[in-house]
């Protein structure tokens, strides 16, 4: 146990029990998994990616490269979870990963022995012999060895949600800078959001012993938090990571609502995605403690100096029984001394500088901490750290320590400043990159901006918080900044311990991806010198920590090798997310059946009651067919529905068609321009089938449009293209011809529409209309009537036919749709009226040779579909000019024809390609393909529609329908696409 005797922001009065690799431990509220493990003396927590080396906790934050665990079990298993950010809860279960059979003994650690082979880029040079071995042998082995944790085996049981927030000032980070900024902005009345990924506000102040405004740092945090909570215009969002900056001052953030609990509370999500729209943003994300590269720097026990101090001060946890610190800067030394004060047994401070500032030296002395100046750690030993070898100009010595805190200085956390393309700039005076161009509206405060003295940080935060508020229109009259005691901020730029040899073990740059200083040298040698090439060749910075702590050192090493200097070496690109984000939260509510809305038709419930089987058509759910008791397969039901319709009468809900109301004096003109055929000449009370092209001359959509009054038309579109056609019409009216006086309104939702088809349909209809004349004379083919049905329900009746039979479509306000269906069923009962679904609808239209979605592919022109003759030559219309291009008028083009299997018992399948009999099955011989097929109960065999080269000229010819993906290859006979009633007499009766 290395729990310190007292102190820390943990609740020692309560004990939480947790398990790691099956062993049970205890911790306290306020602990993270990492602090609790350390306090329990667990130092070996993970294995590295490539060499499977033993690894321990290195940081106390989300920048952690090593301490990755599988958290929770079963469907909630979360691989690669940083132990340093997991709040301890009672019953927590975690397991180490990337090891076999156990963390302590990992068979793949033999990789270390072959590490002379496994340098950067070794894959590219090998595994090529023999060629076939890659997928079969090498790759599977590599894949099994690689990866980190395991995904859960079952769907994520938790629920996620998304929300949008708006504010005047978003403050990211609640350290000294962020608190000061939020306070200054909040007091002005501006709407402020203060987000911090930590579960407590305060940032480094939670770990520091600094004095502010005469009190302690913790007092300051408590006071500011209390005031901010009291302000109604301020929203505090702990456990919220701002992960990305996007265009339009939008920030993406994840709030971990329930991750600190064993499972989400009822009705609570696990996490919530926030899109925060902020007029201004103050980024106060602090800085990372920069590592130093030295031999053996990856042993469990070697960690960031600030983390070592944080574990002692904030968590009351010692990272080892005793410790030393290897530093380059005053801040780390001060932090280490804070830790010693908190009770950590700190044996020595080893600093690369010739001397420490007087104040720190005196403090060390008072605490009994030995100071070794001009010192460098050159080697370490132990599976978990046992000793370090320190070299100074005066000689070298070995110290027995269990923990070593390392600090090479501060790397400002500027990730979010770069998401919109900003490039960091080098500041020689602090030997660090600081934000360059930042996203519009963003300002950077505190350590993230390279401001390191606490007094300056507080001033910085106050100033930027106030100006953010005043920029968004609030009066933030100068607020006095909190005052902090001065502390020394001296440092020396120092990135790695020079010298050759691997006596002390390899010197790691990127600990998770096992990238060593030698790998950087190899990349240099092989010409991968640009930082981006260095990254990609060695994988430096590509691990789950994205090189937050390691990148800087890696590029410093490369800069040294090229002699180009750090500024012109530059950094790799920072990308969102700042820390990895669960895919579940990015999807939110939209999974399972809620992935997309499910649109029921007005008769959905009725159809359900009839036992309909439904099918997704776009977002709609439509009845596919209505099985009857005793029917064993779908085809049986469909055949019955088709027959009933052809022989008597059938009904189907066609409400899913797009319906557009067009009013105004210029509707006719508009329609003439969007359809290839004429509509301005359409008589009132009549409907007409129309075809629309895109401007490139290919068919966009088809449908019928009826003229209800002189200046009033109603258009129908295909289900799939409803929104597209509406948008297209608005384009015509607003952009192309703004002078046209036409008003549009979508009425797709307003009207339920039911088609009644079949020889008896008139008789059925006659029974429900309120005095509308439905005789052939009163309402001829393509006639339209308005009136009422069912004793007073407003209705529009269109005499149309998609099935080829006598047919009508009856539209009523949607709430009456189900009642209309009911009424039709009752009225039709004597005639054996039969509801049919989209399957039968498909059969009916294929029998009739009508085109539908499978023919309107966006790749066909009107001529291909046999609709070319409809095109008016008397007017211009969209697509006319381009439809005249040579390739679109080429007689060689496939055109729509019908097909019958030569063997009438054979089944046709859509998607089969046509070949001349005897021709080799090659692309060159491809003559088109089958677009739609159906079993025709009317004809007693399968029929098909298809696009065949010069099809119209080849009636009676036999071609091969070649369908190798389904094992099909048969002869089919070319015929007219109108299989029944080619003259269209039935629909006119």
């Amino acid at each position: 146990m290395t729990r310190l005797a007292k102190g820390g922001l943990i609740d020692r009065s309560r004990t939480l029990s947790f398990a790691f690799d099956g062993k049970t431990f205890t911790g306290h509220p306020g602990d993270t998994l990492a602090s609790a493990l350390l306090a329990c003396g667990v130092r070996l927590v993970a294995r590295s990616f490539k060499y499977h080396r033993p690894r321990g906790v290195v940081t106390a934050g989300s920048e952690e490269p090593n301490a990755l665990v599988e958290l929770r079990t079963g469907a909630r298993r979360e691989p690669n979870t940083r132990a340093t950010t997991v709040e301890l809860y009672d019953g927590l279960e975690a397991a180490s990963q990337n090891r076999w059979p156990s963390l302590d003994f990992d068979a793949l650690s033999v990789n270390r022995l072959v590490s002379p082979f496994l340098g950067a880029g070794f894959y590219y040079k090998t595994f090529m012999w023999p060629a076939a071995f890659w997928e079969k042998v090498y790759e599977p082995v590599i894949r099994r060895a690689a990866g980190l944790g395991r995904a859960a085996d079952a769907p994520d049981p938790d629920h996620y949600e998304k929300a949008t927030a708006f504010c005047d000032v978003l403050v990211i980070g609640s350290g000294a800078a962020g608190l000061a900024a939020a306070l200054a902005a909040g007091r002005s009345g501006a709407r402020v959001i203060l987000a911090d990924e930590d579960f407590r506000l305060g940032g480094r102040l939670l770990s520091e012993r600094a004095g502010i405004d005469g009190g302690s740092a913790l007092d300051f945090v408590a006071r500011v938090e209390a005031e901010l909570s009291s302000l109604p215009n301020v929203r505090l969002m702990p456990r919220t990571t701002v992960f990305g900056a996007y265009d339009g001052s939008e920030y993406g953030a994840v709030e971990r609502v329930s991750d600190h609990l064993p499972a989400p509370l009822p009705f609570q999500p696990r996490q919530r995605l926030w899109r925060i729209v902020a007029k201004r943003c103050v980024l106060a994300a602090g800085a990372f403690d920069r590592p130093i590269v030295f031999p053996g720097n990856d042993r469990p026990g070697v960690m960031s100096a600030l983390a070592l101090a944080t574990y002692a001060t904030r968590y009351g946890a010692g990272a080892g029984a005793n410790a030393a610190v290897f530093s380059t800067n005053d801040h780390a030394v001060a932090a280490a001394l804070d830790a010693a004060e908190a009770g950590l047994k700190l044996d020595a401070v080893i600093d690369v500088r010739p001397a420490l500032p007087e104040a720190l030296a005196a403090r060390a002395k008072a605490l009994g901490v030995r100071v070794i100046t001009e010192g460098e750690v050159v080697a370490t030993s132990g599976k978990c750290l046992k000793s370090i070898t320190v070299s100074t100009p005066r000689g070298s010595e070995t110290l027995a320590v269990e923990a070593l805190g390392v600090s090479g200085g501060a790397t400002p956390n500027l990730n979010l400043t770069c998401h919109l393309g900003g490039k960091p700039v080098w500041r020689e005076d602090i030997a660090a990159f600081v934000p360059g161009a930042v996203p519009p509206g963003m300002a950077v405060a505190g350590a993230a901006a390279g401001t390191f003295a606490l007094a300056d940080i507080l001033a910085d935060g106050t100033r930027l918080g106030a100006s953010a508020a005043s920029d968004s229109g609030f009066d933030a009259s100068p607020v006095p900044a909190p005052q902090a005691e001065g502390a020394p901020t001296g440092f020396k730029a120092f990135f790695h311990v020079a010298g050759k040899g691997s006596k002390g073990g390899p010197a790691f740059v990127d600990q998770q991806n096992d990238v060593t200083a030698k790998d950087v040298a190899l990349a240099h040698r092989e010409g991968f010198r640009a930082v981006e090439l260095l990254k990609r060749y060695t994988t430096l910075g590509m691990a789950t920590d994205q090189g937050k702590t390691s990148n800087m050192v890696g590029l410093a090493l490369m800069a040294e090798l090229t002699g180009k200097g750090i500024p012109s070496t530059g950094t790799t690109v920072f990308r969102p997310p700042y820390t990895p984000v669960a895919l579940g939260v990015l999807a939110g509510h939209h999974r399972g059946v809620d992935f997309k809305p499910a649109r029921p038709t007005p008769t959905h419930e009725w159809a359900q009651a009839q036992g309909a089987v439904f099918v997704e058509t776009g977002l709609w759910m439509r009845a596919a067919y209505f099985p009857k008791p005793g029917e064993t397969d779908w085809l049986e039901s469909v055949n019955r529905e088709v027959k009933a319709t052809r022989e008597a009468v059938g009904v189907i809900d066609v409400s899913t068609f797009g319906k557009i109301d067009l009013q105004g004096p210029d509707v006719g003109v508009l329609l003439d321009r969007v359809y290839i055929n004429m509509f301005s000449t359409l008589a009132v009370g009549k409907a007409r089938y129309g075809v629309m092209l895109r401007e490139d001359g290919l068919v966009m959509d088809d449908g019928t449009t009826a003229r209800l009054a002189d200046d009033h038309y109603v258009m129908t579109t295909t289900t799939a293209n409803a929104a597209k056609v509406y948008q297209h019409l608005e384009f015509c009216l607003q952009v192309l011809w703004p002078d046209l006086d036409v008003c549009l309104a979508s009425v797709s939702e307003q009207w339920a529409q039911i088609a009644v088809s079949g020889p008896r349909s008139r008789e059925v209809l006659a029974k429900i209309v309120d005095g509308i004349d439905v005789t052939n004379a009163g309402m001829p083919f393509m006639g339209v009537a308005q009136g009422s049905v069912m004793g007073g329900v407003q209705a529009r009746i269109f005499r149309l036919s998609f099935s080829g039979e006598l047919g009508y479509e009856i539209a009523v306000p949607a709430r009456h749709g189900a009642a209309l269906m009911q009424a039709l069923m009752e009225a039709g009962a004597p005639f054996g009226i039969t509801p049919y679904g989209v399957e039968a609808l498909g059969v009916l239209r294929i029998e009739k040779g009508h085109v539908s979605g499978s023919e309107l592919t966006g790749q066909t022109c009107a001529r291909d579909l046999g609709l070319g003759k409809m095109a008016s030559t008397k007017k211009d219309y969209i697509g006319r000019v381009m439809a005249g291009r040579p390739a679109l008028t080429d007689p060689e083009r496939p055109t729509l024809v019908g097909f019958k299997p030569v063997d009438r018992t054979a089944r046709l399948r859509a998607g089969a390609h046509f070949l001349k009999p005897g021709a080799a099955a090659t692309t060159d011989n491809d003559e088109g393909y089958m677009t739609s097929t159906a079993f025709s109960p009317t004809l007693g065999h399968f029929i098909g529609l298809g696009l065949l080269k010069r099809g119209a000229e080849r009636m009676g010819e036999k071609v091969r329908a070649y369908d190798p993906v389904r094992g099909g290859d048969m002869e089919v006979e070319v015929c007219s696409p109108a299989f029944i009633d080619p003259q269209g007499e039935k629909q006119r009766v």
Binding site: H159, A163, F166, P597, A598, P600, V747, E749
Partner: protein, 201 residues
Amino acid sequence: MSDLLEYLAPTRLVPEGHYGPEGAAGVTARAVETLAAATLVARKGATARLIVACAAAGLPLADAPRFSAGAGLEAVGTGPGRWLVLAEGVSGTDLVARLAGMASGLAAITDQSDANLIVDVSGEKARAALAKGVTVDLDPTAFRAGDAATTNVSHVGVTFWQKDAATFRFAVGRSFAPAFLRWLTVSAAAFGFALTGTGRG
């Protein structure tokens, strides 16, 4: 997905009831079936005259995403020169006729009484729940009584407006209403959610 509605077919309206922790409801929603509605679209160049004509007939209109009421009608701006007009207790045909009288020759009027489900959302936590899908700023300083918006909520197109200090009224396409209510129920359940007007499901 939430277990809350796992049992329910996605095409069904969420049945009325109390969802979430027991106790007072932080969010209430009520489906309103008694409204007639119509779109009122100004003819080319006639917006200003239409506004004058309607004002004269007692219905103030703003050519903006605003809600206004008068002469027993409620109007909501949904686009330049476009409004959705609602009226309680009349038929769609009557409403169309009334509007035609007010706007003769100045507008296209289209009955939409059956096009939408109207849902009134209120309660102390209404804003917090709505923020989980509405991507328009609903803060009282930004969205006030009388403001309206046509937007997407959780993949569903809606027009909504703040009718008064307490109530947000949503017009949701009829076929999208089940999806909208599923989202609303799941989003509001944490606050306690009382839903009425949708029947027993």
